[in-house]
Amino acid sequence: MKSSNQVEIAAGIFLMLGIAALIFLAVEATDSNGVKGGQTYQVNALFSNIGGLKRRAPVSMAGVTIGRVESIELDSETLEARVVMNIDARYDDLPSDTSASVLTSGILGDQYVGLEPGGAPEPLTDGDRILLTNSAVVLEQLIGKYIFNTEEEAE
């Protein structure tokens, strides 16, 4: 039988071990230190079709992730998808005529928002809308068009 003091010290070490594991896992193995944590500004864009885009999907420019999709909802006036994006505040000089498209990484990969810079001198600021958008390519529509075209050629 160990003395009561040693037992309590061991229990204390055990709890500290738990807290250390909690901090390590929360910081190193989750998204807590991603773009979400830093300063961001919001821009939104209307897409006629977003395909399989989901919340928290990356927003990238030239392949570099600079933000995340914050929310997706149907705009009740235009009946288009309104995608709100949080962009890292470090990238605050994107041209105001930047265009956005819903793209797919790889053939079966997840969908993300790709930004293409324009040439306007004034930058995008918090709450701005990206006017130039390209919708997601939906496979069924693509196949439909292809079949339709070949039928026309046959006639």
Binding site: S4, V7, E8, A10, A11, G12, I13, F14, L15, L17, G18, A21, L22, F24, L25, A26, E28, A29, T30, D31, S32, N33, G34, R56, P58
Partner: protein, 255 residues
């Protein structure tokens, strides 16, 4: 006759569940925060938490190792071997960590608690405490219950950490997955609250269930050596089934 027996059995089962619930409420309602109780709870944390560390760490490491091995093998057939950390992180934090920890805890510490309290009952120590006017529920049950509720989430964290270490050992150490890709995929795909937090919430729930069932079966054990043996067996069976069932319900709720 058979129908009647079935009815009897059902009534008994419902009665036992009600009995166990009343027991839990009584034990938690009489919560005291005196120097003795904190000290005793800490001592119990040592006996049921610290002493489960070895089995939890070993199991965690090898679970992480073998899970990474299998997932990496399957994923690399689709050319997606780099996603191994995504699968490892999500499955581990949300399901395997809390569930396996709770079941291992039931086998390692739950049985010990049930046998200890059952033996106190069999050797009339609890009756002796009652005679002296000492509340046995508060002295014996409560510190063990609290210690279990504290220990299971901590053990789950240790399990997750060791499993991740096992995953890193296999994926980065043996298979040569790029460390930056490994950690990057993990950080991109595992949400702090919706994945990691949900898993820890489960761990707390399992901690309550596992320690509650252990003290309950010990407390209600028949005061014979056979009764104590039955209590430990029931603890493991009931905890395993309730944890798996509760896991399904909680996962469905948190989806």
């Amino acid at each position: 006759m058979n129908g009647q027996a079935q009815q009897q059995w059902l009534v008994q089962a419902v009665r036992r569940l009600g009995n166990a619930s009343v027991f839990l409420v009584q034990a938690l309602a009489g919560m005291k925060c005196t120097f003795f109780h904190v000290g005793e709870t800490l001592r119990q944390v040592y006996y049921i938490g610290v002493r489960s560390l070895i089995i939890i760490m070993m199991s965690g490491f090898f679970v992480g190792l073998v899970m990474t091995l299998q997932t990496y093998d399957t994923l690399s057939r689709f050319g997606a071997g780099d996603s191994v950390s995504t699968v490892l992180g999500l499955v581990l934090f949300k399901e395997l960590g809390p569930v396996l920890t709770a079941i291992l805890f039931a086998g390692r510490a739950g049985t010990a608690v049930a046998a200890e309290i059952g033996l106190m009952r069999a050797t009339e120590q609890i009756d002796a405490l009652d005679l002296m006017g000492i509340d046995a529920l508060e002295r014996i049950v409560q510190p063990r219950l609290l210690a279990g509720i504290i220990a299971v989430p901590v053990l789950t964290l240790v399990f997750n950490f060791m499993a991740l270490l096992g995953g890193v050992t296999f994926a980065i150490g043996m298979m040569g997955v790029d460390p930056i890709t490994f950690w990057g995929n993990l950080q991109n795909s595992v949400g702090l609250w919706e994945d990691f937090g949900a898993g820890m919430l489960k761990a707390v729930a399992f901690g309550v269930v596992a320690s509650w069932l252990a003290v309950y079966f010990g407390w209600t054990a028949h005061p014979t050596s056979e009764g104590v043996a039955k209590a430990t067996t029931h603890t493991v069976i009931a905890t395993s089934i309730s944890v798996l069932l509760l896991d399904f319900v909680l996962s469905a709720l948190m989806m």
